[in-house]
Symmetry: C3
Subunit: 261 residues, 3 copies
């Protein structure tokens, strides 16, 4: 038995996600489907890539991660199936898998072309239903990956922006804002430790300065931002019991700088 | 084993949908529940009918489609169970099933009256929990449909508006706006083909004119609307990589006209 | 087989709820997970407590109710596992369980301390993933509750506000606003019956007066509020086919008074 996780930008109102589940269960009534999120910002491949790479390892071995954030649906963009040591990934070839696959070791990549698995007629606008869901379902039944198309060697690359390191400065940016209004930066715990070593530090964001890393949200001050390492090991800017985004940083296209001295 | 799909206007915050699932699983722990949508616009029977009719066939045979969009809860409106060749439907008799059942061939209709299946006391405001969920659960256990009430012949009729055809004009309207801000019209692929035949055409919407049918969203122009047939075969008006509703048509109570020449 | 219900304030966009499900299924692939709600207002323990106490009894016996509304994550607040006659509860010790447990008879309370069940390293910000999900998963596998920590006698108390009874007046307040904009008060059907007995009554809310209890939403007047007992036996103020909150009471921090005469 294999699990299928779903990550899409279909939202909660339309029937898109529900119909994909129907299609999967019609092919494999034993499939176990888990929603990762259906609320990726429409067409935001970066966001989907960020959520996928920070989530996929928490799922059972052999889970099929099905990602449908697909602004190129109906165009010539390829459709991919990737097998790593522990997981399967099914998605359009638009870069959304690239951060998750980085560091996952050897992988087998198949360009999905065998239309005998597709729902017909294949629509121009909903390959989630007509291509990706059936592929994931047949895969969950144990079909071998070679059956779906031909082996290829490369996938489209998409790089999540990395923190930049200057002599006495580590410059990051906000890459995600969560439901609580916390600002997730691209400065990782490792980036930070490596840069700071034994020095003292200050974190600058907009006109604010932060001098310590909190160990719980409760330590956060009210009215001014604090910093913490979040559960995916990113440096996060937050506000005590309120939304940092709403109260302090409506515009999150700003840099976060760590200075050592 | 039978699947139960849920289509409601209960939203995502309240415990209504979760409690219905609890009730179903308490009666049949083996039931497989699939969310179709819980975000039908409150009390919007048309919208629920539209979503149901475009979704139900994608589910496994014998799925029980449970629809609770029920502004008449507690009043004298009837409660229905309908069996078609491939599916079961459980819903209030307010027209919500009517578009889905059209063309589904012979059906058996039961007015649900046998209160020995209900959760007691039956509340005035939540028949989803006290009536419909238990009925669906017992049905999923294999109870025969005659056990739930008496056979009736008719259900309340609700017609989704059809496109109107004049001599040289096909006049449709926006019947749904999806999560991406695409405007779904009631002009079907068949309506269109049948009307256009070998002629050339123009599509008018507000002050815009569209001269071709796109084959992918990527073909869409920026700043002005394009047209495509969506995955449910409706003519759809969209905007390249943005929300047509937000950017161009905040008011969607407008007509879409196809002219041939 | 035990069911696990999830009640959180994680919202629908982030990967938090999905990752918790992954963690549970990695430990117990047979676990059956049911979403109660992920849209509790962020950090609102009262709201979570209200939703839990009105929902938990509808689930199958032995369901594990997992509640992660946890503003104190990473601080010294305790982590609890509670067993009652029919259910299990796993949650931070912040009062969220207290209304549900009231009246549930004898219970066994365990402070979760055995970190051999935790995901390591335990993050400072996401005990839902690193502590609570693994505990619920191991519990669903049949692990005995004593394995997770030491027995304790008390939990943090949180009282939902009760209606106050004066000589000729019963004074309540709005404790919840549902998806439809209905205003749920803390005046229960029992409070009301007990106070009114055979007298006549009037209900005052803001400048409105209501003289009867409706038996269906359809009886509600348009433009002015009506009253009904909702499915959880609370007196509810509603507006015929519209949102009472949106149209009449944007501010719901107001009292609802029942007068008898």
């Amino acid at each position: 038995m294999r699990f299928i996780s779903l990550l899409t930008d279909f939202g909660d109102k339309d029937n898109f996600a529900g119909v994909m589940k129907g299609v999967i269960l019609k092919i494999n009534p034993q499939a176990k489907i888990v929603d990762l999120s259906h609320n990726v910002t429409p067409q935001n491949i970066f966001e989907a890539a960020f959520l996928l790479q920070s989530s996929f390892k928490y799922f059972p071995k052999d889970t099929i991660h099905l990602v449908v954030v697909d602004p190129g649906v109906g165009s010539k963009r390829r459709k991919l199936l990737v097998k790593t040591k522990d997981y399967y990934f099914v998605a359009p070839d638009n870069g959304v898998l690239s951060p998750a696959l980085k560091g996952e070791g050897p992988k087998k990549i198949v360009e999905i072309t065998n239309d005998r698995y597709f729902l017909k007629p294949v629509s121009d606008t909903f390959h989630g239903r007509d291509v990706f869901a059936p592929i994931a379902a047949h895969l969950s039944l144990g079909e071998r990956i070679g059956a779906f198309g031909r082996r290829v060697e490369t996938i489209k690359h998409l790089a999540l922006p990395l923190a930049r390191r200057l002599k006495n400065k580590l410059i990051g940016k906000i890459v995600y804002v969560d439901h609580f209004g916390n600002l997730v930066t691209n400065i990782t715990r490792a980036d930070f430790a490596d840069f700071i070593k034994d020095c003292r530090f200050k974190i600058h964001i907009a006109n604010y300065q932060i001098n310590k890393i909190s160990r719980s949200y409760e330590e956060g001050e009210k009215g001014r931002p604090s910093a913490i390492f979040d559960s995916f090991d990113n440096l996060e800017i937050f506000l005590g019991q309120a939304s940092a985004k709403e109260r302090l940083f409506p515009n999150t296209d700003i840099s976060v700088e760590v200075l050592k001295y």
